[in-house]
Assembly symmetry: D3
Homo-oligomer: 333 residues x 6
């Protein structure tokens, strides 16, 4: 069985024209809504998408044999840096679309919430939507964007007490948060896709160098895209164990989880060797950045199940852990 | 014959999901495009719209007997205050949609261009799109937003030399500009719809108190919504004629044109009495803000042809001037 | 009888050289005072003023047959955007000058207070001067400037709770506030005189779209200059009645009062038709902006009693309401 | 004979109510003017002033036996930090008032110009008024305020090339500049009167540590109030002569001139001993800060001629130099 | 006996390479420490210093016959405007170095503390180090920098309640504070050495024009460098006694103490005459700014004991007061 | 033979106390210099350093068998975000120390320059020091910090024309630049050591997505620390090859060079597999972050030669390329 922990919703155009409208009237038309029918929702799962190799979301899942996918909002659309009220409305509508898809495809989809992470709102205010999605809509967890300013200012690091109300709610509801950036606006130098990597790198550093993991021993954090730069640069952090009196770095690192959303076998191997098979979760971001066929191999770049399949030193049990067991336990699926 | 100089395009959702996408990837996916078919364009003209009294764009035009409508971008969607490159792409795509509609409905629609008025771009750069739309696409004029910051900063007044490259291009191409605000974002206190009025008020003041009308004697400026507050407050400006040595205020005021886009007969009468019938252009903004039926009368609020029809002191010739002749001459229709 | 609710004090030069001095020593000389004698006060009422057609304040009142005028500070001199302590001193001295004039001319003048609306002070601190002028000096009300920053920053809208301490004091003392802007400094584009109009427009919008009128059912608000742009643009706000569930717009609008300080008959007629005769108060701003003779008619532009006299559809009772009765009741004169 | 190089104009209230007006209408009323009659000018010289011990300007000059006084604008009124155009108008009107006084009292007064030192204007633009006053009005020099921001920002130091256009004009016209601060606004901590001292201290440091005196060997600079802190702290700068290779500090210091505007004999003695009698100019600032009678001695604090008279080690020739000769040569009187 | 109240520590290079390191790793290496041996401390007292005329700290003390010197941190090294945590670490290490020197040279040195005056820290937090140094390390007082921003922003004046927690601690511990600036960074125009003078000038003004001396009658404040500009400019402040109702200026001024750290006899005489012998404390800043030999006299510029010796009108008792008695009582030595 | 391209200078304390002094007097003492003797330079190479496992620089080189090391300034000490003039002085002094060490140890050391990358200076001004070090001092290349603001602002990306004057100078002198961050100050969230990684990641993205490599085909760029996150995340960038028309990503990536400064064998293997053996340069940063002994293995973490030695699939020729040949050719050693 294949459980993909890293999927993003394929929503009809109406959700985004709704968003464009919000950003234009700035609330003057009231909240309104995207007014999407079930048929339109289904059509959006089956429509071939030129950005994704002209295959549909369902084509991609079927092709890779993904049995169950956790779906969350398209991160780059989350617009956390916009006006609080607008972020709130759009986030809630997006989560509602996800929920409706989970009801239409109960075997295929499980929801992961976006949070209205506007810096204009108190962190406490973000947690209302976490509660609604988990307790009322049955979602399995949420995304956590370490940079609600989307590149326009420097936020408090994840180790800062600023974030504690969210950690408290996550522990209370006993669901994981998946570290995943959102958009990235000027003045930063990087596109959103690289910003994800940079934010994951900072996020791990922020968490491991703070007392978050001690203060919240039950907090479950998944880091997307194989943990940014950290597994590759891990040697850089080990000598400090000798200099200082902290809990060993590897022990701290292995209190997090990591998805396998990397598109080369070498990198996935390095990840597994570094953080351990028991901390890795199958994740594809399908359809998404990697949804093109590699002209040299004919494979989709994001056919991560094939890359994992090619790793000869994994045992069947280990493969099963990565593909489904770890996720099943962590997300209580 | 009825020529409506104040119409805004009814575009398919795809144009706005395209916009939402631009605002999210910030250019990282490249320019792309909204990929709209002719059928989708036609459907958008005929779809009943709940925001507009459940009637379609065509229903509204037919109902009011509008023969020809000048259509421009929906102003509140123009997003001038966003990143220059994104503004440019979206403006061009919007104008292209307008052009395609003009080709599909050559008798019904005539294009009025939006300009990529990003403060990040030189005014000179805005004029390229003016030239393209007028010389290549046959547009009759353009919108001019006096506040490209959309409420987030104070722009140079329209009397400032900052705007001269645009005035030069307008004169060279011999087309009018229609003063019309765009969006309105925090920190301003007013919604975009009131911002239009405020900007028109400032625009008239800025133009009349500067040397623009002397420096560009052939410049043709139409002010939307009956000129903001000016015709109503006109008495306030007359005593200065006695104090100063300027050209008389009324003479300066009457070098501009005004549309009749006001939704009460009293106001339209005041406008006509103040600026003169020869300076008034029939304009409805249909379908738009006024597209609801007045429960007391059963009329659409924006049935401005009926309001003008009710003015008993207008001669048939004057009515004809307002309804069609003035516009025909000004826009060379 | 003619009661003019819109008059501003004619003070001796010493009041303004006092102000210039404050702005120069910034408090280093202590508060001091303008040291004006009664004779100087009287002379200032009788001195012909070249800015006002070479007639004196008294000439203007006598000429127009104004029996009683409510006088407040010259708004453009109020300097709300300066340092709090200086604003406080100058406002108090100005109100004291007004009070002394009211004592010298008890039949002719009634005081309307300026408030020390410095953004550096708490709104609560402004109300001390309101209390002093009303309870100790017998003033009939106060001015309320919606933009204490005088164009240098965006203030909270009048619907914001920021303003509530002032509304509470007004209700407690049971006196009206007259919406009237003060100065206007860069970076805005408009002169103070147009800023008045823009602020009145925003003020009405802010009040009517908020819960102020519900939270303070007894609050009495007069809007100067015939309500800015709103009566002229009123049609723009009516369709929302159909879309939303608010109290009807006209009902909300008619919970405010409006002065007739417009210098054309057409505009005054539009005002009276729009808000109703029972909501209109005779106001001239004499001597002021309109104090020049119209060369075409020989009349003073601000001879508003003549303009109202020329409106043929008003009954004698209605004229009496506008000229005196409404003001008498509202201000308890 | 007594020549007092440090006097400020006593102008009628009208000049300052004109200023208050400019700061309120911000130019909307046009430039206008203070409209002062000759009688009003004369009255201002003869009116007893409560701030100055109830004596008039002329009383003070007569009492001290001042034969000729150089009069410049009241520095704290110069408002350099306001909008450029307003500064220009007010400065020119002030200089014109000074000029008219010099014509009314040709034996008693000689003009020293204020410059429109708005940071919004180019330094080049300031020099037009220097040229007008020197070449057309016969002024003997000008004030130079090292801090045109009046405490709201940090200006370029006087050694910076920013100031060179002014130095060039001073050399070309061959007139001295008198270093004298203007107002002082928040956020600084000091009142304008102490700001003068601080600015003089920085000014001397800035000039002596730069190449100004080498680049403009003919530049004549007078420092007010005995040179701020420098003569008292002079020892602090001497050891650097040993460390570095500059021209000796005392030599550089003595290329400037200093007025005696200090109100204690000890300080004047220290000044004379430090900079030399040949670099000292009699200056009183009469009437001004020091125009109160010392209750212990009955003398006016600013009776500086008496303090100098009490210095027993000065020769008659030296006294004559200080009282008149140095000034006569420097200002070509 | 000679007690010098104005000395600064001569510390080994390691203290400053430690500081450079802090400013580079910004805390990433942890606090660490300068790791200085007693031998290195002693060597730093005995090493000839080219900046100080090639004589050592001890040479200077011996040469001048200084028996006891109060030593505090080198002010220009205190870096108060840097990150709070770094300021705290460096200040504590510097005070510890001072303490170790006092233990190595118990007859020669007495400690005066630097405080971690980072604007990022609460004033309350600064006082912990004051308590530690006074109660645990036996220090005699502390430095007080009126400008913790070091020229990069305007701090609250010393009369502001911002400073009250420090005044409270000083009174509670019954130790004096010595007013002394620290560094001076852009955008100010002056070097740190002149900034000291300017800050002392403002400090005296701020204290005397506030209620600090009334609120803290037991507060003991010493002003360095002879009080900046104030004793020289003292006449400027006396006329206000006549105008206002304050306690006489001289009385207020004489509630402070002043060191004699001026390098010319004239200035020291002026100081003594102005503030009185009983308010003057012998201070040299040796070795420091003045540690060069005057080529004309062969004396060290900072041989202030010689300058005082040359003042012929001082009695032996007065000399003794200045040289030792005043300091002994004030600092309880 | 072992050539280590990534070494940083071990300088005596005096260089850093010199730096601390510059940051304190801000130039007021003049440039001065660190005054280091040859003996002190040699001692600094041989002194055991507690931060580096109590071994000396030479111990580390000898222990690892490094024959030749390229030494550059300690990056975290470079203080690029400080005042331009101070950066210039300190950078030049540091390079001079490096040069003197190269002369003392001509077989062991080869210089790599730091540049005075202050954002206050023009990029053109930075190149003077590049020219001096390469043409006069024989240096082999320079460091290039992509973030001269050190975390306090967002700089232009390396693809921006801002950087072109530096690229031109590098090409003209035909020397490589080594991408290496400097310090990292608030408000960023990461310590300098992680900032290096983030900056390398952005640097590669900036260069490869721009036209720099086309505009400067001969430009030689080495990326430190194995290229930040890029080789690990490389799969993320490959699908774009299919979507766009760029030169293939791997081809562009392989136009850069990468050092092996990673402290785990897995990471080094991933690097070599990703960029190719011909693009890898042996680099250790010895002594530095990795200079602690791994308690599990007894090896130094930065014994990168052992890690490379353990990679069983490398041929002897490949090892030789990595260890020396690639560097020899690139740096012309």
């Amino acid at each position: 069985m294949l459980i993909d922990v890293h999927g993003h919703v394929s929503a009809p155009d109406k959700l985004y024209s709704y968003k464009a409208n919000l950003l234009s009237h700035r609330g003057a038309h009231g909240r309104g809504g995207p007014r999407i029918s079930d048929d339109e929702l289904r059509a959006a799962q089956d429509a071939p998408n030129p950005s994704f190799g002209n295959a549909s979301h369902m084509d991609h899942l079927d092709g890779a044999g993904v049995d169950l996918q956790l779906i969350s909002p398209r991160p780059y659309q989350m617009m956390h840096s916009e006006t609080g009220r607008l972020v709130q409305w759009f986030t809630e509508e997006t989560n509602t679309v996800i929920h409706r898809l989970c009801e239409l495809y109960p075997e295929r989809y499980k929801g992961v919430a976006g949070l209205p992470q506007s810096p204009e709102l108190d962190v406490q205010e973000w947690t209302a939507e976490l509660r609604r999605t988990v307790t009322e809509l049955g979602f399995a967890g949420c995304l956590l964007n370490p940079d609600p300013h989307e590149g326009t200012a420097v936020p408090p690091a994840l180790g800062d007490r600023y974030w504690y109300p969210l950690y408290e709610a996550l522990c209370e509801l006993d669901v994981p948060a998946i570290i995943h950036g959102a958009g990235c606006r000027p003045p930063t130098r990087e596109p959103y896709s690289l910003h994800f990597i940079q934010e994951e790198t900072v996020a791990i550093w922020s968490l491991l160098s703070s007392s978050v993991l001690t203060d919240f021993p039950d907090l479950k954090i998944v880091v997307s895209h194989g943990g940014g730069a950290i597994p590759y640069q891990v040697g850089r952090f080990l000598p400090a164990d000798v200099r200082g009196s902290n809990r060993p770095y590897m022990e701290r690192l292995r209190s997090l989880w990591f998805d396998t959303c990397l598109y080369t076998q070498d990198s996935i191997e390095l990840l597994l060797r570094t953080v351990g098979v028991d901390r890795a979760l199958f994740g594809t971001e399908k359809p998404g950045t990697g949804s093109q066929r590699d002209p040299r191999t004919g494979r989709w770049f994001d056919d991560i199940h094939l890359l994992i399949g090619d790793i000869d030193w994994l045992t069947p049990t280990e493969r099963e852990q990565i593909f489904a067991e770890n996720a099943r336990k962590l997300f209580k699926l």
